[in-house]
Symmetry: C2
Subunit: 220 residues, 2 copies
């Protein structure tokens, strides 16, 4: 298991920038305390995806922020990113690990208790549980699992893979992140809570402070 800090997890693609430069948005998020960024672009062709991935990598160089790409192992390899994030219908993590080697980060989306139990056989470095709340950022026809669902899936993930960080995604913002972390998330993945703001770095800073306080409160 590769160590990865998922406390503040920003998900970003051209659809989230409101016309701003993708790499500049990522850098602002990093400057404000985002710990990991996922390039998520379901619409662009591979040549553009490689360009986006390389631009983000250049923008994040030296920040220590982890950079992964959604779904596409080939893009992660071509741009030499830190890893990939896989949904349950993306490449099997066993195949992805074989292609990426032992040192890359592989994350996986967990939606159900069954997904969390399957972690036992999966060479992944973190999980991200969702959708927790309703969200406008992603087309997600499944009903939200809520805090109770998050707590259940997180508990099984912890039992199955002790020490592996598990985050939470969907509809998380400053107002509900304390309860999200209280329910068992080690970090929160956000899109609009970061990138819908004019001041992305400021938004990141506010979220990160609240996350760290909530994690400290849970640890006490």
């Amino acid at each position: 298991m590769n160590p990865v800090d998922i406390r503040l997890y920003g998900i970003l693609g051209p659809q989230d920038t409101h016309g701003r430069d993708l790499a500049a948005c990522a850098r602002a998020a990093a400057d404000g305390g985002t710990t990991i960024i996922q390039l998520r672009d379901k619409h662009s062709d591979a040549r553009i995806l490689v360009e986006e991935a390389r631009a983000l990598k250049a923008a994040l160089a030296g920040t220590g922020v982890t950079l992964v790409v959604n779904d596409r192992v080939d893009i992660a390899l071509a741009a030499d990113l830190d890893g990939v994030h896989l949904g349950q219908s993306d490449m099997d993590p066993v195949d992805a690990r074989r292609l990426l080697g032992p040192d890359k980060i592989i994350g996986i989306t967990l939606k159900t208790e069954s997904d969390a139990r399957a972690l036992a056989d999966q060479p992944v470095d973190y999980g991200c549980i969702g959708g927790v709340f309703a969200t406008t950022s992603k087309d997600n026809p499944a009903p939200p699992i809520g805090l109770a669902g998050l707590a259940q899936v997180a508990a099984i993930a912890r039992e199955t893979r002790p020490g592996m960080p598990v985050g939470a995604i969907a509809g998380i913002n400053l107002a509900n992140l304390r309860s999200t972390i209280g329910a068992g998330a080690d970090g929160v993945a956000v899109i609009s809570a970061l990138f819908a703001h004019d001041d992305i770095a400021g938004a990141a800073h506010g979220l990160r402070q609240a996350i760290d306080a909530a994690l400290a409160g849970r640890g006490a």
Copy 2:
């Protein structure tokens, strides 16, 4: 440059089987004399794509037929296919070659004279020129280039990369393949001319005979 026989190039995905088993369709095409098959599925998620690729590979084992996948270098790697076929907006062939190594087949779609000139810097093993005629098999908003366009692009491809096979795609069938090969194609890529038939092996056999005759006629 890796040798590849593109005389009869079948393109196949779940959208082309008319409810039949994907692997069985590929095998029937191989049995009838198809020389290369491309898995082309723009809609399925990666986990399904890997399954499809493995099923085709198993079905084609021992036939000598080359198996490539459209666009996705990661799927080619995961299923250890013979290679990939790249459109002009897919991954840059230089990046793809780095990921795939020297022995895999990389093919590329050529639409313009400029695409054909760019072959000089591209580590690809074959080209496929199109769309030659109007087709119902693919959404293709660009107007067909016709036999004259095919001949122009093929001539530049031959000048740029002597000895590299160049095929033709879009709307090709038994009725027009002699003129297609006469215009400079070393092979023809088809979807419905193979897979719209109840007897795929029979359709392949008929096409392959006509292709070989046309190539022999051109060589004489």
